[in-house]
Symmetry: D2
Subunit: 287 residues, 4 copies
């Protein structure tokens, strides 16, 4: 599964302009770039251009440490928002969880089997009861309950932990507390939440009860970046499953757990492989 | 595809009680009923029992015209809401349509090829431009525009037409006018609408624009019975299709048309084969 | 999620005959049976009748230990193949695995979180390297390699272990050895295998390579009972996922793992909840 | 739905080489090309590069009639297989059909509603009974039965018709005769067939019977280019639908018809919008 060679990935977004593709491809060509993956998208309505180019470091004419400086003039000429990533970097991930452990457990198991390319130093929960599972994975378990209703105090502790662990990505694995705007804004497009419905249907609380009440024939799950507006952030991935009148709320919950696991894992994987670009309130997923 | 033998179908709903299944199956057994299909559902929360039993008339001990009277004592004992249908009855269907003809055309073509077991004497439109297509099928085309904003007058004409054609089922094949409560109440669970989204997401107007704006990764269509509350009626069937950032609104419309066609046709087919029972605001679909 | 009350489940299959449903429902009715779930299927071509009835023990007129004897006369009258299960029985499950651990890990994690209603005393592998994971779950890990090509000897050890652990269900969680006919025949409809393709497409070895080579646009996974004919047993569940030209074999493997996990877990869950009946080479799944 | 502006589309495939993307994008940039859609794919294993670039004619520095000559030097430098298409060209399509008309009818209805951008001058059938439908669309109906088992004679007539109508694309809309190698080779990647199964499962005759016999839980349909090897050609699109033990062969046929209609229409649409490139026995679909 592993890429043998280290690759560099350019993620670019800017106003659509003539010559963009020519400039980037010329830059890579002149420097003997061996392109492994290239995809681009132009939103004609919004006049936005987005591109992902992944190329091998091996054989590239510019040394790893100098690529950024070498590309900067092009980026400035087109006023790009951009970043450069290397495939051997290990992003640092924290998982926030509450009482339901299936998504957290699934991510930890995938991580241990090498499916998730990241470091996971810490799991943070507002409940005490996941410690045994988490510690078996050699991951620290931090129990941070909300005490006396003082959510601000608890959140300050969360932020302190995220900072001390130098966290790049936060996964809300069925974390049942709403994070305040302040926390969310500290990690723009770096908090991934799993919502247990096909958003925008059944936003908010108890979506399976809502779905059962409404009598839908298909249920869903949505992996999205958290934004200050609850359940309104850019959608990364969605999944669905058929249901029928034979399914009780408990059946929907059971079937939904499989959707949640898979959709969250896919969203996290796409993010960690630098496949997701956000613009406006949407994502471009170069899969 | 055709059933060679004429069958009778009992559709039953009532409060859940012990002995229900025993009573119905005993009735059929004693009268030499050859069961072709039997399915039932108990909603334990609501304590509602629903059943569909289809049996062959051939060999049944009671003559077709006397089955209803023979079953009535059982129905009364359990206080059933029930109906008895025969497979050689031909329900009479009217299609209401506006400017987009793909769903109407699809239903007419299926009907002509024998896929839809019904009579379709009339198509009613608030626009003039579908006449040529409809008349090729030997179906009357009634153009009933809303003039001077007088929707009540137009609806009175629609109702008069439905009555004169003795219509059993009304199909809203992308009919873009909201029917008044009064019309909807005349045809309870006998008006099927196709909504071009995965309800309850994107109820109301321009759902593909809403879906594009929201950046969803899956779109849907919903076939449901019309009720006075717009887009809130019991759902019969839903379908979905994956989409991506590469899809413009026009692409969503294009992909959505296929969902609308298929989901509406399925909902109509399930209804016409007496496979749908409604209770509360939900359906039980015995497929 | 838990059913508060203990239930009994009758699983019945026999030649289709008049009076079957009446006899069973009458038996339950006369004994004050509170039916929780009832479903039946008649294969008209094969003239086979299959039924599943689940009812509460609480309030039932016959004591748990005497239901079997009380029902036997009915079963004999209709020459039924039948069984009676109780919801508080705990089936004993063994997992067979090779080098890929994702399915095994997924099942163990679900089991630990209470999603799988069974005991799992043992995992058997022809490789040594899953021990650490398995033992964390408090499950015995038995390493039984094939040595000197003597598969018969290894299989004898497997059978001995299955017997000593009184195993009811064997899960082949990507076990890469073909079990001999003899082993398979000892556990009819009690060995569940996950095949990593949409059977019957790509039976045999390396299905993702085959799928990539063929250029399919959808991949699948199949959960089925093992029979002596490889990959030919009765199918319990299947799942699919879209793929494209952008997917390498490694991508198919990655996407396929999610299908395998979910489809195997669903097949196992359906089996353990007594929802699956086998006839001929097919299953009836009362979900 | 219509594109207001005429566009040109370059479809390119060649051996993967450095500088390809740079050369093409530079060509467009220097000539003021306004790119509407660009996508590319590199098969690293096969070392094949494929690209689709669509740009507006309006404002392009080279006149429509001279683009081909202007691009040729680049094409020759990289030894490209390539073509240039214009969005206002109308490909000419023939439909071959037998006794089942649902796919043919669906395509004709879509065509009439403007969903299919092509001319359809002729439908050819080995049966007599679709004439009325076809002629209502103003399309010629040619009845070419195989007489006295002389298939070669019939095929000669088919080829003569295709040639006299200057046909660009042949649609096999459930045409139940196998075309000889000779006919297939005349129209490489220009004959689209709908196979009523999820290929490679159930190739050959009566796939729904095969699927029912095997007890699959999902059925499918496959749109593919015809090649001399029956049901082995490059796959353009596939679709699936869940089925259960409750579905008879007739139910599979009924559910399958919806798959066939939609999958064939999608495959044809992708082809006509120049979104499909073939290499080896696979397609790249730039959707």
């Amino acid at each position: 599964m592993a890429t043998e060679h280290v690759t560099a990935t350019l993620l670019i977004s800017c106003r659509d302009q003539k010559g963009l593709v020519a400039a980037v491809s010329d830059f890579l060509y002149r420097n003997d770039g061996n392109i492994v993956h290239a995809d681009q998208h132009t939103d004609l309505e919004e006049s936005v251009f987005l591109q992902r180019v992944e190329f091998e470091l091996d054989g590239f004419a510019i040394a790893r440490g100098e690529i950024e400086a070498a590309f900067r003039p092009i980026a400035e000429r087109f006023d790009m928002t951009w970043s450069l990533r290397f495939s051997d970097e290990m992003p640092r991930v924290a998982i926030l969880v509450s009482k339901m452990h299936h998504c957290m457990y699934d991510i930890l198991a995938r991580w241990r089997m090498g499916e998730i390319h990241a470091e996971i130093p810490v799991v943070i929960s507002n409940h005490a009861d996941g410690r045994a599972i988490v510690e078996e994975f050699g991951v620290a378990y931090e129990h941070l309950p909300v005490t006396n209703g003082d959510k601000a105090a608890q959140e300050a502790q969360i932020v302190a932990l995220l900072e001390s662990h130098r966290i790049d990505l936060v996964i809300l694995a069925r974390y049942m507390q709403v994070l305040s705007d302040d926390v969310v804004r500290r990690y723009p497009n770096r908090i991934i939440n799993i919502h247990h419905s096909f958003l925008p249907a059944f936003a908010g609380a108890r979506p399976y009860h809502q779905a059962h009440e409404r009598g839908v024939k298909i249920i869903g799950a949505t992996g999205h970046y958290a934004t200050p507006e609850l359940d309104q952030g850019p959608i990364i991935d969605q999944g669905v499953a058929p249901v029928s009148h034979r399914d009780s709320v408990a059946d929907l919950v059971r079937k939904g757990r499989d959707l949640e696991r898979v959709v969250l894992a896919r969203a996290v994987d796409l993010h960690l492989r630098n496949r997701v670009l956000v613009y406006g309130n949407k994502t471009v997923v170069f899969d």
